[in-house]
Amino acid sequence: MIKLKLVENNSKEILKETLKVLRRGGMVVFPTDTVYGLLVDATDKKAVDKLIGFKNRPAGKPVSVFVSGLDMMKKLALLSKNQEKILEEILPGPYTVILKSKHLVDPAIESEKGTLGLRLPKNKNVETLIKSFAKPVTATSANLSSQAPHYSVETMLSTLSGKKQQSVDLIVDAGVLPRNKPSTVIDFTQPEVKVLRQGDVNFFNSKAYLSTSPKKTKDIAKKIFEEQSGYSDKPLVFIIEGELGVGKTVFIKGIGERLGINNIISPTFVIYYEYGNFYHFDLYQIEEKEEFKHLGIGKFLKPGNTLCFEWGEKTGDIYDLIKSKAKIIYVKMKYINEGKREIVINF
């Protein structure tokens, strides 16, 4: 068993090593967007058998797979146009999607009904890995069947016998992962879409809007703010993701206007501006998590306050803190064309 530590600047080498192990049918413990995962080539029968043996998994209980994109998903499973539309909206994300398999993976990881669980995670390393591997990889959590998933390599190793430890070929250690729940499992093979396991993200509390102008974007923001405020005595935190220029500041200006604040400008240069009990953050310039320490975000997480974060992707290091104290509303903004933006809200 080899153990490698994943740090900020060595992901390239680590991915190379991981690919090598996967190609020769090896088993890898790897950090994912949710918990530590157990990765093997999902099309390699020997590798899959080894995995099932390791997990003490009863035969017939399926194992989901990581894919690199909707294209690979379509290759492995049957997907209707309608399903594809829904998936485009929610993926990549912390979901396992159950679809009818085309039986290109090892049968041992499909269910007895011939369905397959697929994961398109929001995790750069996993994404790059599967892209380079060009084949699906098992996405089961790195714990024995019926035990809790692991957020650190140490706790995982402590539950394994020496023999089991030796059967793992490579461990990629990224330290303690944020305590995200395992993925939300959604079954698309029934006439009605069904949530089989509730993870962190509530599939049904998701709304998609189409904006055709900055004014519309502001109106959508106002509406969402109105709907969400008052329901909880926790502070409201909007985590907003989207490419440069997609309209994140416009969205926040909408919330500001609803609160009577009309002089909001981009806080990129100073990280955040405060307007009474409204805080507008822009994490664009944040390079190291050390910087969060000096921003004192914890003390703003008080009832009655509203915090908006642009470049919400970068809230990773303070995500646990925010989650423990606030009601979070995720806003994903996507460019469709010059005059159109899609805004997906999860809460």
Partner: protein, 343 residues
């Protein structure tokens, strides 16, 4: 009259000692580290860790003076990053109390407006004030027009509604893979292609009659232009130049509008973007067209954030006896604007 000045409005920690308009010392944390080549003795602290830097920067700025020589302490009250401003203000109050000095609060934007009049320790350059001026502050955090009517008197006549001009330049540079802050790199690349305009990006807000700016639309169109035209991404210099021209031409056309609307042809321009040679050239041309004049910060360090300019404003406030009456009342004002000057 000697004033100790502190500025911690964004990511620089800066302390200066000025005597009137003359700067006797100006210490900026990032600059000290570079100049002294500390070689790791002083750790490279997180950008906004002002609290861990301020004592050291003060020590560096005042080492040639005894505290008795200092007549008053000036500190930036806003606009800026709240937690950063707090550090400077707390320190200024502490010193004022400990050494029984009077305290002066300064608007960071006033500092930039006065920066063209800041002198070196020898009193150079000796620029006289001929009010009124049309003042433009153009930096990574601000883009503002004001009529500089007389000492400490301003009327804001326009500002950005979203991104600052310097921020637009920095973000465009980042989109071109040039790192942050990328304004200066953009400028060098543009010079390689003679500041040509090859792609004609939109000039935002020129149709509107007011003097406000908006650069977020330009940023968006640049982003999607790059996305939709992968074939041009090799022409980095041409892209850099075209973008810079779009930003600077917008600023110049608005400045021209401001000259026409106010009838003032004497310009003072401060802020980080005044380090840009193209901006200086275009502004001089514009001033000439209107038989006016233009003043920029005379030394490079005065273009960026620095405490020297805060000290000089502090001096003019001291002359008018504009001291803080009760030092405990002084609080940071992160979105302070020039028209709401309070003491």
């Amino acid at each position: 009259m000697k004033i100790l000045a502190i500025d911690t409005s964004a990511d620089e920690t800066s302390v200066a000692v000025v005597d009137g308009r003359r700067v006797l010392s100006n210490a900026i944390y990032s600059q000290i580290l570079i100049h002294k080549n500390w070689g790791g003795i002083y750790p490279s602290l997180a950008k906004r860790a002002h609290e861990e830097k301020i004592d050291y920067v003060i020590e560096e700025a005042v080492k040639k003076f005894s505290i008795d020589e200092i007549d008053a302490i000036a500190v930036t009250k806003g606009p800026g990053l709240a937690v950063a401003l707090e550090v400077g203000i707390k320190k200024a109050k502490e010193l004022a109390k400990k050494f029984n000095k009077k305290l002066i609060s300064v608007n960071h934007l006033e500092g930039h407006i006065y920066s063209p009049f800041v002198q070196n320790s020898q009193g150079n350059p000796d620029r006289q004030f001929t009010f009124p001026y049309l003042a433009l502050v153009i930096s990574g955090g601000h883009t503002e027009f004001a009529i500089f009517k007389n000492h400490l008197q301003y009327e804001v006549i326009g500002s950005t509604l979203d991104d600052a001009a310097g921020e637009a330049l920095d973000k465009a540079a980042k989109l071109l893979g040039l790192g942050y802050p990328g304004g200066p790199v953009l400028e060098r690349l543009a010079e390689q292609v003679d500041n040509g305009d090859f792609y004609h990006f939109p000039r935002p807000m020129l149709k509107s009659n007011d003097l406000n700016f908006s650069f977020s639309g330009l940023k968006t169109s640049f982003f999607y232009f790059l996305k939709n035209h992968p074939e041009v991404t090799g022409n980095i210099a041409k892209l850099a130049s075209s973008f810079q021209e779009a930003v600077l031409e917008t600023v110049m056309r608005k400045t021209e509008k401001a000259i026409n609307q106010t009838g003032i042809n004497r310009l003072v321009i401060g802020g980080g973007v005044t380090a840009n040679r193209r901006l200086r050239l275009l502004s001089r041309r514009l001033a000439k067209k209107y038989h006016g004049s233009v003043l920029f910060p005379p030394y490079k360090y005065l273009t960026g954030d620095n405490a020297a300019m805060i000290g000089v404003v502090g001096y003019y406030k001291a002359v008018k006896n504009l001291y803080i009456k009760e030092i405990y009342d002084l609080d940071r004002a992160p979105r302070l604007d020039l028209s709401s000057l309070d003491f």
